[in-house]
Symmetry: C2
Subunit: 295 residues, 2 copies
């Protein structure tokens, strides 16, 4: 026979209300159930905890001592359990997120807004990085989830698709190519190109597509920040090739945006360790991301 939480709670209720019958009512069980529970507890502890008299129940010295300590300890335990339930109910928690800068500046803000509406207590710890670094951080458990592009390398990372991020050519509205709905790679190859650095997924997608056509990708200029490239395009230095998520596009309305021919896109995916479950907070963020994508 074993000490059980139920037995201890029954004991506390009876000790507090000085009555088996009343405690039974409060605990929504019948009185004999409590009689049995207390007997088991007393057997398990080896002594009498409650003196039963027709005019009520009186804890013994041992029972009184136990009740006093137990009251505190069970309250603490319940508090602990409630804290865990708070995590489950998304009333508490933090997602550690590594995201592509482009996503972090475009999709993520609206998703976080959405998440805050539903679960105001959840927090996001954001780190911006390129896809390779994101994979590393997820693998090393430095973050809970990543938002990166393309399929992850090893089998230890699982992906869930979020959306297609089309590659756009950014060019002055009066540029000859601006008249085309879609701009062929062959035409691009003859222009001065403004590109992000070569460790980015944009570069990789573009490089693959050029190579498939036997073309050479020779950028006129490379930069870390999309705003740099947008500025250069505005000045007429060339054609910038940027993902549609680059937020700077929205604030440069005088530039034309065109898809390529063939249409190039990188798949934006949520990445997490296979076999490791998502925390409720992480799931909430992913939900919010999907809703923002759908909107």
């Amino acid at each position: 026979m074993d000490v059980t939480l139920k037995g201890l709670r029954a004991f506390l209720a009876i000790a507090r209300h000085r009555s088996f019958t009343r405690a039974a009512g409060l605990l929504h069980v019948t009185q004999p159930a409590l009689t049995v529970q207390i007997r088991q507890l007393e057997v398990a502890l080896g002594l009498r905890l409650l003196d039963r008299t027709p005019q009520g129940v009186e804890p013994t010295a041992a029972g009184l001592e136990l009740a006093r300590v137990l009251e505190v300890q069970l309250r603490d335990l319940d508090h602990t359990l409630e804290n865990v339930r708070d995590l489950a109910a998304r009333r508490r928690g933090t997602v550690r997120l590594a995201a592509l800068p482009s996503v972090a500046s475009s999709l993520l803000p609206s998703a976080m807004l959405r998440m805050r509406e539903r679960h105001p207590e959840l927090r996001v710890q954001l780190q911006e990085a390129v896809t390779g670094r994101i994979h590393d951080m997820v693998r090393a458990e430095m973050v809970d989830i990543g938002i990166a592009s393309g399929p992850p390398p090893g089998p230890d990372l699982a992906r869930e698709p979020l959306f297609q991020d089309h590659l756009l050519a950014i060019l002055p509205a009066d540029h000859p190519l601006a008249s085309r709905r879609r701009i062929p790679l062959e035409a691009l190859a003859r222009e001065s190109l403004l590109l992000l650095e070569s460790n980015t997924s944009v570069w990789r997608v573009l490089d693959d597509a050029f190579a498939a056509k036997g073309l050479r990708l020779t950028p006129f200029q490379q930069a870390v920040h999309t705003s740099t490239l947008v500025g250069m395009a505005q000045a007429g230095l060339g054609i910038a090739l940027l993902p549609s998520t680059a937020v700077e596009l929205r604030i440069a309305p005088e530039l034309a945006r065109r898809r390529l021919q063939p249409d190039l896109a990188r798949e934006i995916v949520v990445v997490h360790r296979t076999g490791r479950s998502l925390s409720p907070a992480a799931a909430a963020l992913i939900d919010a991301l999907r809703e923002s994508v759908a909107a």
Copy 2:
């Protein structure tokens, strides 16, 4: 579905050993039992606590947090339960005792010695008092048990007989009555009597017996301390009437000790509140008292 101690302990064992199978071995159950326990716990808390992978078990963030807190709280709870078991096993505890001075000086020391041999950690809190006061103290729960004489007054006090304490006449060896094996009350009535005070049970027993014979109890001298009366008897001032438990008798070998005719005795009993159980420590003391009586 409910959170149970068993489930929490199972969770801790698995989290600590990173394996269902190993934990099952340590807990002496089979592995499926733990699988079910953890599933119930996870359902009760609403989230996943352990990520199961073929190469072992990894707690989730929530599981890690829970394990850390739970480790402390369950240890505290176990400590509490162990403390109660210590009371039961007589490894800890105090008896509050009110006893007649005569018993406190005669029977009690040997009983306490006996008790200390068996249960060295138990303590006795002794208060000396006369029977009436002892009853009051037991009733008021100022003490756990009393050692008094005669049957207790109300139905709220229960008694358990310990032994018969014979009333002895203490007189100089050369006193004429010293030649009798038993001294008749009628003879005593003509002597100068040395008695304890009139609120004592000795007085009451004697008074009743005299009255039953139509005799008047008129003491020559009264005192609080038996040693006073023994001293007076030694000096030849009269015949002292004392309970056999009066320890001073042993250190005055030149005085004769005689029972009365009829033999008068008071019954020494252990008194405690009816309906209230004895603490293990109190039971241990009563055991020791009985053994000392039997010895």
